[in-house]
Symmetry: C2
Subunit: 267 residues, 2 copies
């Protein structure tokens, strides 16, 4: 049972739209389970209002954390005085916590959530060949997390060739994985990761050619609605092990709670 | 059980300090009991940051209401595009809700809470003689509510004579009660109302001469900490019926929930 008082520490999740987010309840419950009197509430902030919102957020001394969702991940990164190695590499944050000086320290845990869900289903990416579909915000974070988790090769399939090649170039410098351009053909990959919204709307094309999926291939997806995405459903039909977007967000939520609890408080 | 999602409607309580406020939990529970998916969270806003905060609040489309506590009741009134008759008379608000055009409509229910608590204890102020101690924000609101509740005479005791006489003058115009300057002597009054903090700290003088209290006199107090203020304790010892600050805040909370639920939503 959550009982909010004036002493309850405030955290917000900012996005536009915001009604679709699920994290406030789960994170508030996770705070309580950790003995922390804190709450997470949704705040809808339009892109044009974000700078003004953050300028005010800087000064709210009972505000400990800001969770960031679309479309603010890049702008919020620019507002952070510092960030983790991941956040700096990606130029994006999905969570911000206070520093001693009142400024913000940012982190991007989307990729960690994906890898955490894959590992929770018993698949270790180390030394594996991975195919990632989508090189947007979530895709870039997952690409980085897969490389950092030790995949041997990462192929990236993305319709926007400039975006794809930009990400490949930056990851090549990071190493040690071999990072190349991919296609929708999953043949020969140990892991297929979908980081596109394909499957959220009825009639969406599948992000990969599922008829070519081997039962040995692990398939992970970022989609939370529907809970079992068409890709995950098709992969399961072919005998593949899978991880869902919901499982990814559960792993991500744990990482976010840990990150926030390590922050400073201004009052 | 509160389960906050991205669709949960946001309400805040602003003040400085803020840790002492109790309303977030009670109001959130009251929303739930009314079938409304809404939450109230504390936000500490310093006086210098209030204008910037309100400028941002104007634009947050999932923010439905702002509860206002010390020291922001007058400044928030100035920010409201409209207000109830009470709020306009007092030049202060303790709650703001959305209008169709996105601007704010303000109300001041502190006085209604006091009178509600008194009535809940079985005392009807209509036609009675009342002594009010304190003509600050809470005192002014209580004075207005007592006049509007139909007291025959209201005597106001307040150390700041200019403040006292200003309030008496404004209430005299409103009518129909006779409003006069009072003293700490409760002799002859049916109702004694304390709207000062006297009794919150050990060693505080009592706001009225309790030795002169008749057992027939009803004594109401705004103090919530301690739950039984020294005035209430002394009045009870003399056989008086009483109402406490906690009872006042319970009545006030009901009025605030009703007020907010009648507001508009921007998204």
């Amino acid at each position: 049972m959550i009982s909010i008082t004036g002493a309850t520490r405030l955290n917000v999740i900012v996005g536009d739209p915001i009604a679709q987010v699920k994290s406030p309840g789960g994170m508030t419950a996770a705070f309580a389970a950790r003995g922390h009197d804190g709450v997470v509430v949704p705040v809808r902030v339009s892109p044009g209002d974000l700078d003004g919102f953050l300028a005010v957020a800087d000064k709210l001394t009972n505000l400990d954390g800001i969770i960031v969702t679309v479309p603010h991940k890049f702008a919020c990164h620019r507002h952070c005085a510092s960030g983790t190695d991941r956040a700096t590499f990606l130029g994006a944050v999905n969570i911000m916590r206070r520093r001693t000086d009142g400024a913000w320290h940012g982190e991007m845990v989307d990729g960690l959530g994906f890898v955490g869900a894959v590992k929770a289903q018993g698949f270790d990416p180390t030394g594996k060949h991975a195919l990632l579909v989508g090189a947007g915000g979530a895709g870039s974070a997952i690409a980085l997390a897969l490389v950092d988790a030790g995949v041997r090769e990462l192929a990236i399939h993305e319709a926007d060739a400039a975006r794809r090649d930009g990400l490949i170039g930056r990851l090549a410098v990071r190493g040690p994985a071999k990072v190349v351009a991919g296609s929708p053909d999953p043949t020969g990959f140990d892991l297929v990761a979908n980081a596109t919204p394909a499957g959220m709307k009825p009639g969406d094309p599948l992000p990969v050619e599922v008829a070519k999926l081997s039962p040995e291939t692990f398939v992970g997806c970022v989609i939370t609605v529907p809970a079992i995405s068409p890709l995950v459903a098709a992969a399961r039909e072919r005998g593949c092990r899978t991880s869902t977007g919901t499982e990814m967000y559960q792993a991500l939520q744990s990482a976010m709670v840990e990150f926030l609890l390590a922050g400073e408080r201004l009052d």
